[in-house]
C-alpha cells in the first residue's frame, strides 16, 4: 500500500470523508462471532470478496493503546463506481466495532488513517462497500505482547 502522507490525510479530510469512531467500553470481550455479526450486518449477509484491500498495521504493536492503522481500497472512485464505506472491526476488543469511514465519489481516494486501541492480540478485519453494492475484505493479525526479553 502507498504510505498515506500527511498531505494525503489532509486532502482526505478536506474532501469530506466522514468518520465514526466507536468508543471503548469495558466489559466482556468480543468473540469472533460478534465481529462476524457486525460484518454480516454491514454487508447484509453478502459474502465479501478477499481483494482490493490494503491494510497497514504493525505485526506486533509497540503500544496497544494507540496502534497506527491505514487502510486503502483499490477503487476507481468515479461517480459510477466508488467506495462508499469502509468498516474496521477488531475481533478481540470489548466491542468489535472500531471505525466506519464514509466516502463519496468526490473523495478521490478510498484511503483512511487513524490510531486504534487493541486490548489483546487479535485480527483487524476491514470490509469495504462500493456504490455498486459489492463488498471487499482483508484482515491482519496484530500481536499485543508483554514485551521485553528480545535481542
Amino acid at each position: 500500500m502507498r504510505q498515506l502522507s500527511r498531505r494525503a490525510a489532509l486532502a482526505l479530510s478536506a474532501s469530506g470523508a466522514a468518520l465514526t469512531i466507536v468508543g471503548w467500553n469495558e466489559g466482556a470481550f468480543a468473540t469472533a462471532k460478534e465481529a462476524a455479526d457486525d460484518i454480516a450486518k454491514f454487508t447484509g449477509g453478502k459474502t465479501a470478496e478477499k481483494a482490493k484491500i490494503s491494510i497497514e498495521l504493525p505485526e506486533i504493536a509497540e503500544n496497544g493503546n494507540t496502534v497506527p492503522l491505514s487502510v486503502a481500497v483499490d477503487a476507481p472512485m468515479t461517480a459510477e463506481n466508488y467506495v462508499s464505506e469502509i468498516l474496521v472491526v477488531a475481533d478481540g476488543n470489548p466491542r468489535p466495532g472500531v471505525a466506519t469511514f464514509h466516502f463519496s465519489s468526490m473523495s478521490g481516494k478510498a484511503e483512511a488513517s487513524t490510531r486504534i486501541r487493541l486490548a489483546t492480540t487479535q485480527n483487524i478485519i476491514v470490509v469495504a462497500k462500493t456504490s455498486k453494492g459489492e463488498f471487499f475484505t482483508g484482515q491482519k493479525q496484530v500481536k499485543v505482547t508483554i514485551g521485553g526479553c528480545g535481542g
Binding site: Q3, R6, I146, G147, G148, C149, G151
Partner: protein, 562 residues
C-alpha cells in the same frame, strides 16, 4: 558451487589440524593457521561488500561459544541457520575439530578454544578491512549491521563512545542499529552526528506524524556500479527493549516501505540494491521472498554465522556472525543492473593468526584505559564453561539466575534471553569484564515482585511465541527467557497459550499454582521506573562469595516438538 569451494579454503588450511585423543598444542594451531590463508580470496567482479554485525561492544578478541540448540519452526525447520553441532558441520562439509568447526559451532568448544584461542578484536578486523580496501580500491563498501555500540562495560559507561571512536577509524560506509537506540534519542542523535557516515533506517518513523525519522538509503558509486544501500533497523526495538527510552520513534518491519525504497532506488538508477538489515535471519528470508528487487541482504540480529550465502529467488542472504568474530567478504560481478556472479567467504578473525593493526590497537587501548582496572578485576573463578547463546538456557544465565535467587531472596528468577554475551573457559578467572559482557545494558535494575503462577505462564508463553511463531514476521529474534527456580516443558510446535506445561517450582518440586503468588526477581524490565540494584553488582557479589563457580547441567526445561 563457488561459495562451497571458498568456504573449504578455510577447511583445507586447517584440515591438517584434526586432533588425536590428546588434542594438539596451541603453538601448532598458530603455526598452521595463517593470515594469508584466512584472507585468501580470488577477487571477482566489480564490487566487494565487507560486512560486520552484532559486535556488541567487543573491542578485544573473545571466546564466544556458538549455540548447541537453535531450533527453526515452520518452513525454517532444519534449514540454515537452524543447524548446530555435527549437523552444521555435515551440511557445510566442515571437518570436525577444524578451525572452521571451532569458529562456527559449539562442537568440542573447550578443547578447541584452548588450541585456537580467541577470535575477533577490532584491530584484527582493521587489518582485514585495510588489506581488502587496498586490494579493491574504490570497488569496496564496508557496512556495519548494527548492535555495535552496546554489550560491554566500556560501551555502557561511555554510552557507545568507545565503539564509535574505534569504528569510525575503519570508515564504514553506512550502519543501521538496534541496541544503539537504548542510549536514548538524544544520545543516538549526538553519536550519529560524529560518525562521518550515514546511519540508515528506513523503518523508523516519528510517533507524532508517522513520517520517516532517519535517512532510509544511501546511493554509492563503486567500481562503476551504482549501489543503493537501504538500512533496516531492528523492527521490534520498542517492544523487546524499553519504549520509554525512544518514545518519539516507531519501528516495524514495514514491508511496504522496504518495497517502496527498493523501487525508488531502482528508479534512481541503482544497479545493485543492498539491504543492510537488522531484521534477523528468518525475517529476512521471508522478506526476500516477498519484496523483489533486492540483490543482497546483509542479515544480522540473530547472530548466525553461515559459511555460505543463502539464496532466496535472486536475493543473496549473508550471515556474518557476532561479537566481532567474523567479517564477511562478498564479491559481486554486476553487469547492467544484474548480478552475474558472486564469491563469498566468511572470514573468522583468529586473533593468534591475524596481525593486529597498530593504529587500532592504540585506539582500543585508549578507549579501554578509563576502565582498565575495573575490566581486569578478578572476582572469582569458573569451574564450568560459561556461555549464553542457545534457545533455552546457557550456563552464564544459570549463574545469573543463581545469583539473583540468592541476592534478591527470590523463589523464581526471570533473566532475558539475549543472544549477546561472551564465554568464559573452565578454570579461568571471572573478571568484571566477563560479568559486564553478559549484563551491560542501560536498564539493569533487578526488580523483586510478587507474580502469580498464571502471570508467569503468560510471560513464558509470550516469549516462546516471539521465538517459535511459525510466521517469522512475528518473531523478535531473542532466545527463550531464562528461568531460575522454575522448570517447565515446552512443545515448540504448539500455538501461543499451549506451548508451556508442567511448570514446577524447583525448590519444592511442586507444580506452579496459577492463583498462587511467587516472589520473582528479574532484570532488563522494559517498564519505566523499575527499581533495584544493577544486575552486575549482584552477580559480582554472588561470584565473590562463591569464589569458585560450578554450574550443574540444567535439565529443568523439557523440550518437545523438535
Amino acid at each position: 558451487m563457488i561459495t562451497r569451494r571458498e568456504m573449504l579454503q578455510v577447511g583445507a588450511a586447517t584440515a591438517a589440524l584434526v586432533a588425536g585423543a590428546g588434542g594438539f598444542t596451541r603453538a601448532l594451531a598458530q603455526q598452521q593457521l595463517t593470515e594469508s590463508d584466512l584472507l585468501k580470496f580470488d577477487a571477482l567482479g566489480n564490487v566487494t561488500l565487507l560486512h560486520v554485525a552484532d559486535i556488541h561492544g567487543q573491542l578485544m578478541p573473545v571466546y564466544f561459544r556458538e549455540p548447541s540448540v537453535n531450533l527453526g519452526v515452520g518452513e525454517a525447520k532444519g534449514q540454515p541457520p537452524h543447524l548446530t553441532g555435527g549437523d552444521f558441520l555435515k551440511r557445510f562439509g566442515i571437518p570436525t575439530k577444524s578451525a572452521a568447526a571451532y569458529a562456527m559451532t559449539s562442537e568440542d568448544f573447550v578443547a578447541l578454544a584452548k588450541s585456537y584461542g580467541r577470535i575477533g578484536g577490532l584491530d584484527r578486523l582493521a587489518t582485514v578491512v585495510k588489506r581488502v580496501r587496498s586490494e579493491r580500491g574504490d570497488k569496496m563498501l564496508f557496512l556495519d549491521g548494527g548492535d555495535t555500540w552496546q554489550g560491554s562495560l566500556g560501551s555502557n559507561a561511555s554510552r557507545g563512545q568507545d565503539m564509535v571512536d574505534c569504528m569510525t577509524l575503519l570508515k564504514p560506509d553506512a550502519m543501521t542499529g538496534h541496541w544503539e537506540f537504548t542510549y536514548g534519542e538524544a544520545r543516538v542523535k549526538e553519536l550519529i552526528k560524529g560518525l562521518g557516515f550515514p546511519f540508515l533506517a528506513l523503518n523508523i518513523r516519528d510517533t507524532e506524524w508517522n513520517e520517516p525519522a532517519f535517512e532510509p538509503m544511501k546511493m554509492f558509486e563503486k567500481g562503476g556500479v551504482k549501489i543503493a544501500v537501504l538500512g533496516q533497523a531492528f523492527p521490534y526495538t520498542p517492544v523487546a527493549n524499553p519504549r520509554w527510552l525512544m518514545p518519539k520513534w516507531s519501528f516495524g518491519i514495514r514491508e511496504e516501505d522496504v518495497r517502496a525504497n527498493v523501487e525508488k532506488a531502482r528508479k534512481d538508477g541503482a544497479q545493485l540494491v543492498v539491504l543492510l538489515s537488522h531484521n534477523g535471519f528468518d525475517v529476512d528470508r521471508k522478506l526476500a521472498a516477498r519484496v523483489l528487487g533486492i540483490d543482497v541482504i546483509l542479515t544480522s540480529h540473530t547472530h548466525d554465522a553461515l559459511p555460505e550465502a543463502v539464496k532466496v529467488g535472486n536475493t543473496l542472504l549473508i550471515a556474518s556472525g557476532s561479537h566481532g568474530k567474523f567479517v564477511s567478504r562478498l564479491d559481486l560481478d554486476v553487469q547492467n543492473g544484474v548480478v552475474k556472479g558472486f564469491r563469498y567467504k566468511l572470514i573468522p578473525l583468529f586473533a593468534d593468526a591475524i596481525k593486529p593493526d597498530a593504529e587500532m590497537t592504540a585506539a582500543i587501548t585508549k578507549a579501554r584505559a578509563p576502565y582498565a582496572k575495573e575490566l581486569a578485576r578478578v572476582v572469582g573463578r569458573s569451574d564450568s564453561t560459561l556461555y549464553r547463546r542457545g534457545n533455552f538456557n546457557g550456563t552464564f544465565d544459570d549463574l545469573i539466575c543463581a545469583a539473583l535467587l540468592k541476592e534478591r531472596d527470590a523463589e523464581i528468577v526471570l533473566s532475558p534471553g539475549f543472544r549477546w554475551g561472551t564465554s568464559v573457559l573452565p578454570g579461568a578467572p571471572i573478571t568484571m569484564e566477563d560479568i559486564h559482557n553478559a549484563t551491560a545494558i542501560t536498564y539493569p535494575q533487578v526488580y523483586r515482585l510478587p507474580m502469580t503462577g498464571e502471570r508467569l505462564k503468560d510471560i513464558l508463553e509470550d516469549v516462546a511465541d516471539n521465538l517459535f511463531n511459525p510466521d517469522p514476521y512475528y518473531q523478535q529474534g531473542g532466545d527463550m527467557v531464562r528461568c531460575g527456580g522454575l522448570g517447565y516443558a515446552i512443545d515448540v510446535t504448539k500455538p501461543i497459550g499451549n506451548r508451556i506445561s508442567a511448570m514446577t517450582h524447583l525448590k519444592t518440586g511442586k507444580p506452579i499454582e496459577p492463583a498462587k503468588e511467587y516472589t520473582v526477581a528479574g532484570w532488563a524490565s522494559v517498564n519505566e521506573g523499575t527499581q533495584g540494584p544493577p544486575v552486575w553488582e549482584l552477580v559480582e557479589r554472588y561470584v565473590a562469595a562463591e569464589k569458585s563457580v560450578r554450574v550443574i547441567p540444567n535439565t529443568s526445561v523439557k523440550i518437545s516438538g523438535v
